[in-house]
């Protein structure tokens, strides 16, 4: 990937893109044909309304979510970036990357013109739900003050998730954004969350919840409306788990539109040099500084092969380089540029 050698982003925040770049980027996104390695490019995501980002914990899915939002925004789209959180009182990982580590309240925060951020939390969803169910504000407050009800909503299994999905569907209905880009929980919990509507709808066919979750289900399983993006690292275990995750999400009717291999290192070695060095190290086992970093590099290169061999090319597959020595927000800026180029 060439982008690693690009000029670093200029000091000013690129929240407001310059007009020429915007036009160029958005036309690329609409007509982009993707990388030679298959799929329809990240473009496949950009004409979808709902983009769900997931992956194993620690692979950088939060940064990728933020970068996707930045890239879409830079292309002139109206974007809402969201994250799933159990508690709105804790700092926000995604919104920190946009300078809003502790957004007040539950409503969307304005980050820049056409760019907003919001947190999807069980309590927020429950409040919206009760507001719709009870219509009268006073009753909502009374109901939420009822210890029995709040206990039930926060403690009964699946109710927190129902709250999150309810808030999600409300956003999809009411918000005017072109894209809602959501940082989902890590792998296992993401699959649980995505598979929840199907079961719940069977048990709760009617009422506000039943209707809303039917709507979530219909939207999530419509590839014209929703795409999932899975993020992974060039390491053996994360890559093989990604292959399973793509299948598991597919089984729930959620189409994975893109797989992103994050933190791909570049190699200075020719293949012959690398194999000679490896053989020499294995034979002599010298106390060599750099041996561990070399091993990591070799594993990353191997895992990259596996990524292209095993992640189905029905998803567009792309890479993000390793950005060393930059802070989180700078990394997001660079990632956004690369993701813009890929399409």
């Amino acid at each position: 990937m060439k982008a690693a050698n690009r000029e670093p982003a200029s000091g000013e925040p690129t929240i407001v893109p310059d007009r020429a770049a915007t036009v160029e980027a958005s036309s690329r996104w609409i007509s982009g044909s993707g990388r030679a390695n298959g799929g329809a490019g990240v473009t496949a995501i950009w004409d979808r309304r709902l983009v769900l980002v997931t992956g194993k914990g620690g692979v950088g899915k939060t940064a990728v979510t933020a970068a996707l939002a930045r890239a879409a925004h830079a292309a002139g789209k109206r974007v809402m970036v969201a994250e799933v959180t159990p508690d709105v009182h804790t700092p926000s990982p995604v919104l920190s990357l946009f300078g809003h580590p502790r957004p007040k309240g539950e409503d969307p925060v304005d980050i820049a013109p056409r760019l907003r951020g919001v947190r999807l939390a069980p309590t927020s969803g429950h409040r919206i739900l009760l507001r719709k169910a009870l219509k009268v504000g006073l009753l909502v407050d009374t109901a939420l003050k009822s210890a029995a009800l709040t206990r039930f909503l926060s403690a009964a299994p699946t109710f927190p998730e129902i709250g999150i999905l309810f808030q999600l569907v409300t956003l999809l209905r009411d918000a005017k954004d072109d894209h809602l880009i959501v940082d989902l929980p890590a792998t296992g919990h993401a699959v649980s969350l995505v598979s929840l509507p199907k079961t719940v709808v069977r048990v709760i066919p009617s009422g506000l919840i039943g209707e809303s979750l039917s709507e979530v289900l219909a939207k999530m399983s419509d590839p014209k409306h929703t795409r999932a993006v899975v993020v992974t690292l060039p390491e053996q275990l994360p890559v093989s788990e990604t292959v399973e995750l793509v299948a598991a999400l597919g089984a729930q009717g959620l189409h994975v539109g893109a797989a992103v291999l994050n933190r791909v290192p570049s190699t200075p070695f020719l293949p012959t040099e690398l194999s000679a060095l490896r053989a020499w190290i294995d034979e002599n086992n010298p106390p060599l500084l750099g041996a561990k970093e070399l091993r990591k590099l070799e594993r990353a290169l191997q895992a990259k092969e596996t990524f292209y061999a095993q992640v189905p090319n029905t998803a567009s597959r792309s890479e993000l380089p390793l950005f060393d020595g930059l802070d989180d927000r700078q990394v997001v800026e660079r990632m956004a540029k690369v993701l813009g180029e890929v399409s």
Binding site: K56, G57, G58, V59, P86, L129, L134, L139, A143, S146, A147, A148, L149, R151, F152, S154, A155, A156, P157, T158, F159, P160, E161, P185, A186, G188, H189, S192, S195, L196, T199, V200, R202, V203, I204, P205, S206, G207, L208, I209, S240, F269, L270, E273, L274, A276, L277, W280, P286, P287, L288, L289, G290, A291, K292, E293, L294, R295, L297, D328
Partner: protein
């Protein structure tokens, strides 16, 4: 922090930390270390790590813990002393739920009745939220049987781990009789005030969920209600167990960017739950590296041009490695201070393992490091 001492003396070790810090492998290594001291150890993981399961020769899911065969450990040269056993289980929420119903129902007919309710069927299908409840219950059950000297509980990554820590408390709240009575069928409700309050709540729920569900919910809670008293005792039991000095919480961190903040976050959350985190483990660290040769110094002795050229190109990677080792030592020092100021015992480092491509040798090496830390 003396992890080697802890695996020999404690009954429960709960490991938590963000995703990708190597919790599952480290947890298994702690259990193995205990087994190597002659203890019967169980590693209970919530996040199924297929490769670890594969390396240990156990199925990724199953209804009971699997005793790791001596021949498997023998492959990496480990022989357990008399009494030492290593068991592993990838927690299956459905199995735990089934067993809860079987053990707590007053009679088999009631157990069948509960299983037949529509909501039970859905509950056992939906994984969301269930893992945390069942983990707490499974922990209690295994401690209760006395079958193991040490149980290492590997929590799910990141935010979900906190759900687990909170599960017994939330369960107790959920199982509070006053909460339940709101949902009990009307004829069972004693006072007029409770009936009136219940009417408001059920009215809201009916609108939200539709009449059928509200009816199903009442039916389910009516049948399940008989179990709640006992489940509540267990929930309290888990809380007390985790608070007692039989249990310790260990926070795992990796040396990457933000590791200290992440680890501190866990320490704080554990404190908020009225518990103490014993210390930090800095996993996959270079902190203990010393006296390594620079690649440039070895070029002269290279057997071929390819090796010489490769060694020359290794220079930048060596520089990165040296800088990281330095950084890891700083991180370790910060964790040490942070732990002690929070009432813990400090921090220790587990090394980055070159052979980690295969889990068994890694487990062996990690457990050796743990045992040396007494």
């Amino acid at each position: 922090m003396k992890l080697g001492g802890l695996v020999q003396s404690r009954q429960v070790i709960v490991t938590c930390g963000a995703g990708g810090v190597g919790k599952t492998t480290s947890s298994a290594a702690m259990a193995l270390a205990a087994a190597r001291c002659g203890r019967r150890a169980l590693v209970l993981t919530i996040d199924p790590a297929r490769r670890l399961a594969q390396a240990l020769g156990i199925p990724p899911t199953g209804s009971t813990p699997v005793h790791i065969d001596a021949s498997i450990l023998g492959k990496v040269g480990i022989t357990l002393p008399p009494g030492g056993e290593l068991h592993a289980w990838m927690l299956d929420p459905r199995v735990v739920l089934e067993s809860v119903v079987d053990r707590f129902a007053p009679n088999p007919e009631m157990a069948t009745k509960i299983r037949k309710t529509k909501l039970y069927g859905a509950l056992s299908e939906v994984m969301a939220g269930l893992q945390e409840y069942t983990a707490a219950e499974a922990l209690y059950e295994f401690v209760e049987t006395g079958r193991y000297d040490l149980i290492v509980l590997d929590t799910p990554p990141s935010r979900n781990a906190l759900d687990f820590l909170d599960a017994p408390r939330r369960l107790t709240r959920f199982l509070d009789e006053r909460t339940l009575s709101m949902f009990a069928p009307a004829e069972q409700q004693a006072s007029a005030i409770v009936r009136a309050a219940s009417k408001v709540v059920m009215g809201a729920l009916s609108k939200a969920f539709g009449e059928t569900f509200t009816h199903d919910l009442q039916e389910f809670l009516g049948a399940f209600g008989t179990l709640f008293g006992k489940m509540r005792i267990h929930a309290e039991g888990v809380r007390n167990l985790l608070r007692s000095d039989k249990s310790v919480f260990i926070v795992l961190a990796s040396p990457e960017l933000g590791a200290v903040e992440e680890a501190m976050f866990f320490q704080r959350r554990i404190a908020e739950l009225g518990l103490v985190s014993r210390g930090f483990v800095l996993n996959r660290s270079y902190a203990t590296d010393r006296d390594l040769a620079k690649p440039a110094d070895l070029v002269a002795g290279a057997p071929s041009k390819d090796v010489a050229r490769a060694l020359a190109k290794l220079g930048p990677l060596a520089t990165i490695e040296a800088a990281r080792a330095e950084e890891h030592r700083l991180v370790l020092a910060r964790l040490e201070t942070a732990s002690k100021s929070g009432g813990g015992d400090g921090a220790m480092a587990l090394p980055y393992l070159d052979q980690a491509i295969d889990d068994l040798p890694a487990l062996e090496a990690l457990s050796t490091t743990i045992l040396a830390n007494v």
